[in-house]
Symmetry: C2
Subunit: 346 residues, 2 copies
Amino acid sequence: MSEFRKDPLRGTWVITENQRIRQPREFLVDRQHPTLTICPFCPGQESKTPQEVFALRPGTTKANEPGWRVRVVPNKFPILRIEGDLNRQTSGLNQSMRGIGAHEVIIETADHQRSLAQLDIAEITDVLIAYRARLLDLRQDSRFHYLQIFKNHGIEAGAPLPHSHSQLMAVPIMPPVIHSELNMCRNHFLTSGQCLICDLLAQETADGRRVVSNDGTFLILAPYASSSPFELRLFPLRHNHDFALQNDQELADCAKALQDMLRRLYRLLEDPPYNFILHTTPPIHSRVSKPGYWETIVSDYHWHIELVPRLSQTAGFEWGSGFFINPLPPEDAARFLRATDPNLSF
Amino acid sequence: MSEFRKDPLRGTWVITENQRIRQPREFLVDRQHPTLTICPFCPGQESKTPQEVFALRPGTTKANEPGWRVRVVPNKFPILRIEGDLNRQTSGLNQSMRGIGAHEVIIETADHQRSLAQLDIAEITDVLIAYRARLLDLRQDSRFHYLQIFKNHGIEAGAPLPHSHSQLMAVPIMPPVIHSELNMCRNHFLTSGQCLICDLLAQETADGRRVVSNDGTFLILAPYASSSPFELRLFPLRHNHDFALQNDQELADCAKALQDMLRRLYRLLEDPPYNFILHTTPPIHSRVSKPGYWETIVSDYHWHIELVPRLSQTAGFEWGSGFFINPLPPEDAARFLRATDPNLSF
């Protein structure tokens, strides 16, 4: 029969169905592939985006001209805008503030044809270097309480433009999902003196049933309380609260594991639409700062990447309750993914 | 520019976009319409479902035979099962319990062709009478901490079967969405001595910009912090914490307002897919019971129906943060819906 499972990192419950064994082919999605006459993210089209705020390019090339490997630009149609103050207002029971923030696009490659899963490790490392650079820059703005880096892959996952890219949104309020995680981690640390995620990785490694891959530096897990089929989390095995403090070698190791994760999904589920989200420590000004708290902040959180393939839809029950129903136990998802060879050639 | 808005009932923030005026036609969805050879919810097919647990039918007809107007049956493929105990288990950091609960289907009409919006007020009243009967019955089971009634309309909203129906799921854990609402309402009551929702209705009625309809007994609002386009909430104007305590006349008034809401959406958005969810007080055994708390329980919550048309998709930002981005301000949604005549004939 199905069971309720509690996510030790979020505190939320999901319903894991296990009435019958399901096969990966049951989760394949009919993908739409948009065609563009002119892609604004391609080399030569730099004038179609706002001016770049970061790029990896040879010193012989100029900003906003071709030659870049990764390019970060403000979103041309930003949800949040960087100029102005928050202007918090209360009108009776209603509260608002202006949509202040940053909304940037990380163009992951100059190659229009290849998706992130198809890039090589050096190319993916470049993408992670761009993430790090933007985090280090934007965390200096004290209006921003969190810097959310995420990727939508495929129209079905919210990416109307096919050229491979991720996004960064800096927001003036701590997102509730991050807030819950930070609270769970802090409570665990205060009661046990240990990092919750380090403890979780030790437990899951010893158990093994939900491990997709472990290369000695990064661990790919199908979470115990996965909310949907083939949900995955990628963790550095070495404790670190802050993605932006990773050195180049650590980013290269992360790129290798991220490529492994993406290629297994690509092969098993025929290039599924997905979202991934970087979970890392908020800027220091948005956390409680008391004497002695610095040690807690570096010790109680552990950055990671969460990936959610978009294979099924939610309905009224999930919306109304906040409980997700997952038709594929993560033990099965991990087993299918372990058996998939990530060494594909493109 | 866009703004962050806080939902006074949930405490969550959404981002309301208002960079350009959008028209309802931008939100139309290409609907799929499944065809079935035999519909298990049609009269004459009663043997294809489990035995009915409730029906409205003339005394001259027999259970599990044709003649019913509304019929409630256990789901043939239930997510949760009613037999057994919870068997809570902890394995290291992971917690689970068995998938105990109830999962029922409310077949809203014997007519395969008409959807809920197309039923007349007496027929919709019958559906609400069935909801009330099932709530009153299932709340006697002390294993269930919440009874969630919801409707999925259309494949795009999670309803693979086209014959009009809603569902009930009894769950052994308080859903986090309901938990948040109850907490917000209780805090407001403890500090002000007032029902948060009564205060909200007074404020929104006086403001008027987000009111879709007000017939003197029920109010239809586009919520200030709507998370998606054309999200609506239907409230009884008279305070009542418990849907199951409504009398027949009150249910008939509710049916009239629900029909109004569904028909406006049907006409404006060409029969959109949607989910609706009944929010009502949990069974008394699942709330804090201290001497004197009964008065609080009847005073601090106010039942309502939440409706979410499924017109857009969420992506990595929403998933990773918990913030929703709504491209249509609720003031515009309310204006479009006010201008829509609900008196359509079918």
